[in-house]
């Protein structure tokens, strides 16, 4: 009897441990961010001042916006490789059309263009049932080709700097409007996806498509919406960046793609679908930008930044899959019986 009780206690202890691990996994991005921030504040010269912090926030606004849509696509269990070229498309369209249409109409056109690419992606994935990796790889090539074809490979710029000045001029003491706009849009989508009935559908579709369908969700529509959102936020992010520097280059999105994919995964969104959220993705983007910035303060070049972010990503992926591997090992075992076996059944 006493043994039984003890083993029951052992089980409870095990469950507590599991819960704790789960919690740790959920909050891991905050822990990583805190570690990076503290290390950089201690060791990087000129890191901890308002000017530099604002710089970090400015640096994250492009990728945080792009990460919104990418996170939703990943929650649905899909992949979108076209975010980089979508971002460039948004930036190029805004700058190319500004002299003809003015800022706001060209921004609208850019957002429509991004959504259109996303809609094509979503339609091909949901209705034609082609793997999202292939579809988005194809549209990435197509959009990139279109951009180079229309711009002839050269950078575009406009002479109107009024909007750029307004976007970069600090408000409320230190925050520029670009950062405020980005953060508020990210938070809006975070609430929409995480806390509304409509948004929770994305998690259901990603977690188990069949169950979602049986529960009465229009799964195809959800998939298409996820891709449209991804195209929209990518184009919007690119457009905002282009508006704040009044110019755009056709190779804008290449480095961004890598940062966004890394950040979303480090932020705890799994590629199997059904988990993750937009806020943690944003924190992960800030973490990576902090890492880059801090390393730059230490005098390290671009190569060290890639190396470091790659190491962080690799460590996170490795840790995650090792935890799953351990879980798989004891899957279906009853810990109390195992404990009894270990204790004395073999004697």
């Amino acid at each position: 009897m006493l043994d039984r009780l003890e083993s029951l206690e052992g089980m409870m202890h095990n469950m507590d441990k599991k819960k704790l691990l789960n919690k740790l996994d959920y909050y891991r991005i905050y822990i990583i961010f805190a570690i990076v921030f503290i290390l950089m504040s201690l060791f990087a010269p000129n890191f901890l001042n308002v000017f530099n912090i604002v710089n970090i926030l400015k640096g994250m606004s492009l990728n945080a916006m792009v990460a919104v849509g990418f996170t939703v696509v990943m929650i649905c269990g899909q992949l979108d490789l076209s975010i980089g070229s979508n971002l460039t498309l948004g930036a190029m369209v805004v700058i190319a059309l500004q002299p003809i249409l003015g800022w706001w109409p060209s921004l609208a056109v850019a957002m429509i263009a991004g959504s259109f690419v996303g809609a094509v992606n979503g339609f091909l994935v949901a209705k034609a049932k082609i793997h999202s990796f292939i579809v988005t790889l194809g549209t990435m090539t197509i959009v990139q080709g279109l951009i180079f074809l229309l711009s002839k490979g050269s950078a575009l710029s406009v002479n109107d700097f009024t909007l750029a000045d307004w976007l970069e001029m600090p408000k409320f003491g230190f925050l520029p409007p670009r950062v405020i706009i980005t953060v508020s849009i990210v938070l809006m989508f975070f609430v929409l996806i995480k806390f509304t009935k409509f948004g929770k559908g994305f998690y259901l579709v990603g977690g188990n498509k069949e169950t979602a369908w049986l529960a009465g969700l229009n799964t195809d529509l959800y998939l298409i919406l996820a891709f449209i959102l991804s195209g929209l936020t990518a184009a919007l992010g690119g457009a905002l960046l282009a508006m704040s520097i009044s110019s755009a280059v056709p190779t804008l999105g290449t480095s961004s793609q890598m940062v966004v994919i890394a950040a979303v995964i480090i932020g705890g969104t799994s590629m199997a679908g059904g988990t993750g959220d937009i806020f943690r993705s944003m924190i992960a983007v800030i973490m990576l930008v902090t890492l880059f910035n801090g390393l730059m303060c230490c005098g390290a070049g671009y190569e060290v930044q890639i190396f470091a972010s790659g190491l962080v990503l690799a460590a996170v992926v490795l840790g995650e899959s090792y935890a799953l591997y351990q879980q798989d090992k004891v899957k279906g075992q009853r810990p109390n019986l195992m404990a009894e076996l270990k204790k004395g059944a073999l004697q």
Binding site: L79, L124, A128, K129, I130, H131, F133, I134, V135, L137, G138, T139, M140, T141, I142, Q144, G145, L146, F148, L149, G153, M258, I261, A262, I265, M271, A272, G301, Y302, E303, V304, Q305, I306, F307, A308, S309, G310, L311, L313, A314, V317, L318, E320, S321, Y322, L324, Y325, D328
Partner: protein, 340 residues
């Protein structure tokens, strides 16, 4: 009443059979329909197309891609999508080979191959044993490797003729050697890889095990196949083929640099998937992959002959890529062989 029902039944059956016929033709011939169509198109467009030297050019242009695709197809076959660290493996093995040239050509090539295989081994262990997502893991390996190379060589290129001495000439001429008079060595190596790959994939125990793992992981595990080992083997095989291509590429470019091999990852996926392999694994063969590689070569050759510029070429390539995969997936679904 009964007869009409029977007639109806037969009608349905006939239609089903016809649909099946078209789909199975598409399924069997697959990518070679596209190869033949492109050849006909090329012949109509230009008299320069149907010459031996032009064909040799086409094959030579895609021979490195062919080597990579033949290896990577094993990863796709085992249901692990693709190795995104292909460019990293190619660049790294090339750079190590150049760096060790001073110890002689044999040591240099062996070191290059070992470097590539080591990356493949790491990928194989993490994806095979720990079951990490193959795309994400190999992508992070690519970041780490790329960053490491830039950091280690401080972003510089290295040149075999500066590093190597006597062995440098051999290294540089490696990709410029012709065998039997006029056939380049790289073409011979590519064709050897294709033949070997097809043999291993369809005729050996290892190939059958990979197929079973790709078709159904759980079943393969229950059958008693050492799943970890086989997946690991597929990754090492792929990395070995990739690093051989990487050494040839470095020799062709006469420079070892971190950006060597850029784009080979996506091109290899394109070739493999156009060639009739599905990303779910367990379907297709190396003969199809060869067709996919040929399509890529023919496509850019024909478009260049027509006079389409590079940017438009990439648009056309993207459209054809999606369309071919879509048609392929559709025909599989019609035949009832698609599980996705």
């Amino acid at each position: 009443m009964e007869t009409s029902m029977q007639a109806n039944k037969e009608k349905i059956d006939v239609r089903k059979r016809e649909v099946g016929k078209i789909s199975s033709i598409i399924n069997k011939l697959g990518v070679y329909v596209l190869v033949i169509a492109l050849m006909i198109l090329g012949t109509i467009i230009s008299p320069k197309f149907l010459t031996a030297s032009n064909f040799m050019n086409i094959i030579q242009a895609v021979s490195l891609l062919g080597m990579v695709a033949a290896g990577v197809s094993f990863i796709t076959y085992s249901g692990n999508f693709v190795d995104m660290s292909i460019p990293c493996i190619m660049a790294f093995s090339g750079m190590i080979a150049v760096d060790t040239l001073r110890y002689g050509i044999v040591v240099s090539i062996v070191c290059g191959l070992l470097t590539g295989s080591a990356i493949g081994l790491i990928n194989g262990i993490v994806v095979g044993k720990l079951k990490a997502n193959p795309i994400i893991w190999t992508l992070s390996v690519a970041f780490v490797g790329n960053g490491f190379m830039r950091w280690f060589y401080s972003g510089k290129q290295i040149y075999p003729d500066v590093k190597g001495g006597a062995a440098a000439d051999v290294f540089i001429n490696l990709s410029r050697t012709d065998v039997f008079g006029r056939i380049p060595l790289i073409v011979i190596v590519m064709i050897t890889f294709m033949v070997l790959g097809q043999f291993v994939m369809t005729k050996t125990k290892f190939g059958k095990q990979v197929k079973l793992i790709g078709s159904s992981y759980e079943v393969a595990k229950m059958t008693g196949i050492n799943v970890n080992k086989v997946v690991c083997g597929a990754f090492i095989l792929s990395a070995l083929a990739t690093s051989i291509a990487g050494i040839f590429l470095t020799s062709l470019a006469k420079t070892g640099a971190f950006y060597n091999g850029e784009g080979y990852d996506f091109n290899a996926v394109t070739a493999i998937v156009i060639g009739g392999m599905t990303l779910n694994g367990g379907r297709g063969d190396v003969v199809g992959v060869l067709g996919g590689v040929l399509v890529i070569g023919l496509l850019s050759n024909v478009m260049t002959l027509i006079g389409i510029n590079t940017f438009s070429q990439s648009i056309v390539k993207g459209i054809i890529f999606i369309a071919v995969v879509g048609i392929n997936a559709r025909s599989l679904r019609k035949l009832g062989r698609d599980d996705a």
